[in-house]
Amino acid sequence: MAEQTQEQRKELETALARNPELAKQRVQTGVRELDEAADRRELARTWAKGRGLYAWLTNTEHKVIATRYIVTSFIFFLLGGIEAAVMRLQLARPESRVVGPDLYNQIFTVHGTTMMFLFAVPIMEGMALYLVPLMIGTRNVAFPRMNAYGYFTFLFGGLFLYGGFLLNVGPDTGWFSYVPLAGPAYSPGKRVDIWAQMITFTEIAALVGAVEIIVTVFKQRAVGMSLNRIPLFVWAQTITAFMIIFAMPAVMLASSFLASDRLIDTHFFNPAEGGDALLYQHVFWFFGHPEVYIIFIPALGFVSSIVVAFARRKIFGYTPLVLSLIATAFLGFGLWVHHMFATPLPQLGQSFFTGASMMIAIPSGIQIFCWLATLWGGKIRLKTPLLFVIGFIVIFVLGGLTGVMLASVPLDLQVHDTYFVVAHFHYVLIGGAVFPLFGAFYYWLPKMTGRMLSERAGRWNFWLMFIGFNLVFFPMHQLGLKGMTRRIYTYLPETGWGSLNLVASAGALIMTAGVAVFILNFLWARRRGEVAGDNPWHAEGLEWSTASPPADYNFVYLPTVQGRYALWEAQPDAPVVVGLKTDCREVLVTSVLDAEPGHIYQLPGPSIWPLMLAIATAVPFSFGIFTPKAFAVGAVLAFAAFFGWFWSNPDSENAEMRRTVAPEPPRTSAPADAARPPRPVEEGA
């Protein structure tokens, strides 16, 4: 008899798996009596973080992993900032001797590499990994263990770069490491090898994060959150994730080609043997230009969220905003050659890329006007997050204007490799990404920590950064026009560049003070800040319906959504999702377009295998600079780690954890069975 029911159960499982329509019919609606306190208790036990080092190393919960991403990349931001400050100190006056040329080369290379690869991309993904599951109403990302793996590879990559830098083998050929300078002939030693390998494996982390975000957004949205109701922030992060998928492979190839030219004597970039130095620039910038948008589009998501919350009205032009994000993402792939106008390219090619570069102003303009229109019709509260957004609009528009100028070949040739370009891209990147990021910190940190940051310190923070930033970078336009080339470690007094450089360096001091105010504000708020409550800004997103900070399981009952502005348009009798087990980590999978219930999805609990696999990844990429044999060793280790990953049953890990936390037997529901009556009302009461 037992055999037979087993058999029947299997047949039913197969039938349901093969026919989603049949599965959909098994959803029941109605009114239930829910014992929220009991469910909370049990969920808290199931999702508990655990204590001790082992629990720390095995954690796979998205908020924990995302916090690690954010904290780690913020530390890299501070390190990159210190490097920038040293450069400003060196350039403050002519013929300065704070650092020598060799160290200066390392500093600007590590500064650029840190800011692009170890700060900007991971911190944006960190924000996404924290907020996206909360905004779409689920409990964890789609592949929690891959997520933990991504973090560890990113961390190892960063440590590898800085380990090299501290040992005086920091890369010294610029953040894009052009050949032939970075090739084996002109850069002997291990410096560029460290750069190339670090790129390859930190990009693994970016790619893992991107797939994570896409699948989570596609498959785990709250019931009712159809595609046209996704918050703009989530749109921005999803589009960015797609850009990462199509851009990052290029840089992985560029750095792999470079590493193999250096380590095993291939000739991809060696003109003497049929290779081509320009090939490197093409492959690199095919990634490098989209990279700018990979950093910038998430920031547009921050801006949209903040504008809506502080204008206290719905966004003006949701559809045009989404479409311009998508247009920007597409155009971003057609611009890479504008970084190469100083190379011998066909005229037709140059004109094409000039046109494409100018075209990017169209979607950017649409977005700026949509935000302005939203603010225009809103009841504005000028809090710190909105201040940063306004700062973003001002700075980014200035950076955009020089961008349109640089898109024209004759001007670009004139100012190529000068401080004009340095000014331009700092306006675009700091204005376009760092200012919105700080706005996002002020906006979402109360959610993450449960405490409000000080508004007064926030204003100091903003004005110091805003004034400091403009003092640093505005004079650089002029310096560039006067002929100061980038990456020079010093200059002569006769050049007449001294006074503007001094102004820029003074600005750097002010900007540093601004960042210091932020850190102090954060530390102060952690202890003494006003308690935030669930929704301090009366904002509309689902993340504001959770506790601050959110419980480990995010939502007691997965929410349903009735409109584009989940909380503003929530109906009082809106249903919640029940029937997910509380003694293991379950979420609901929904359909891609309309977010209708699809099936239950059991997520894995804590696991040590992500760390093991990350170590297996780090071995070939770090020891590979000494011997190619490390790759064979790494492959074996990686397979061993995969084997452990595959054979460790996620649910058993969950159960094991529950046993150590609480000895009582878990409450499970019987296996799915067609004949089983709906759960009785008394249950859980």
Binding site: A17, R26, E33, L34, K219, F257, V576, H599, F642
Partner: protein
């Protein structure tokens, strides 16, 4: 107590798995394949970019008695293409068995897949030998070795994935989770075969077309 009456959507009777578009891991796999396809796309672009630097592609051999016979040998390569295409048959069998819940079928089919995977990697070793230049001889040798190697790495990965699922299918319960996994690995396998067809054409026939 804190019991409250609320409107609910009860999903407790819903299944834990569905095949294809319903399943997150199916999407995750496609994310990976999108990354890998992009990678191969750029490899192809690189191949043609380097091709521009040469009058003769591949360049003539300087040491051999027949200086113009530097074309890569077709035998092992073509045998491998046929083998890879045939390897889809047991994979389709494994795929269908997994969908139908036929454990025995999946077990046998997966073992056949493994045999095909290993045979294909052996033939790949001969393909490397059939290239008349080492990777460190010139840019032609570099890109050809790189392409062969990158695809071999995928071949190895998908064979190892199939190996893990084979062990599971033989040693453990034939549960829904791993049945879904088999259908997903099947997608990966088909992709490894399909992506090879243009690469094969590029590596072996672009030189012959001049």
């Amino acid at each position: 107590m804190s019991a409250v009456r609320r409107n609910v959507i009860d999903v407790s009777e819903m299944p834990h798995h569905t095949f294809d578009v319903g399943e997150p891991v199916w999407w995750g796999n496609w994310g990976l394949l999108a990354i890998e396809t992009t990678m191969f796309g750029i490899v192809v672009a690189t191949y043609f970019y380097l091709r521009q630097n040469y009058q003769l592609w591949p360049p003539p051999l300087s040491t051999s008695p027949q200086p113009f016979d530097s074309l890569p040998d077709l035998t092992a390569a073509t045998a491998n293409v046929v083998l890879l295409l045939l390897s889809c048959l047991p994979m389709i069998w494994a795929d269908l068995s997994a969908r139908r819940g036929n454990q025995r079928g999946a077990q046998i089919a997966l073992v056949l897949c493994l045999a095909f995977g290993v045979a294909s990697m052996v033939l790949r070793a001969y393909e490397f030998r059939a290239v008349k230049f080492r990777w460190d001889a010139n840019a032609y040798g570099s890109i050809v070795w790189f392409t062969l190697g990158l695809h071999a790495a995928h071949l190895l990965t998908t064979t190892l994935e199939a190996f893990l699922l084979t062990t599971w299918a033989w040693l453990r319960e034939f549960d829904m989770k791993h049945r879904v996994d088999i259908t997903v690995v099947a997608v990966y396998w088909y992709w490894v075969v399909i992506v090879w067809l243009p690469l094969y054409a590029m590596l072996y026939f672009v030189p012959r077309l001049g």
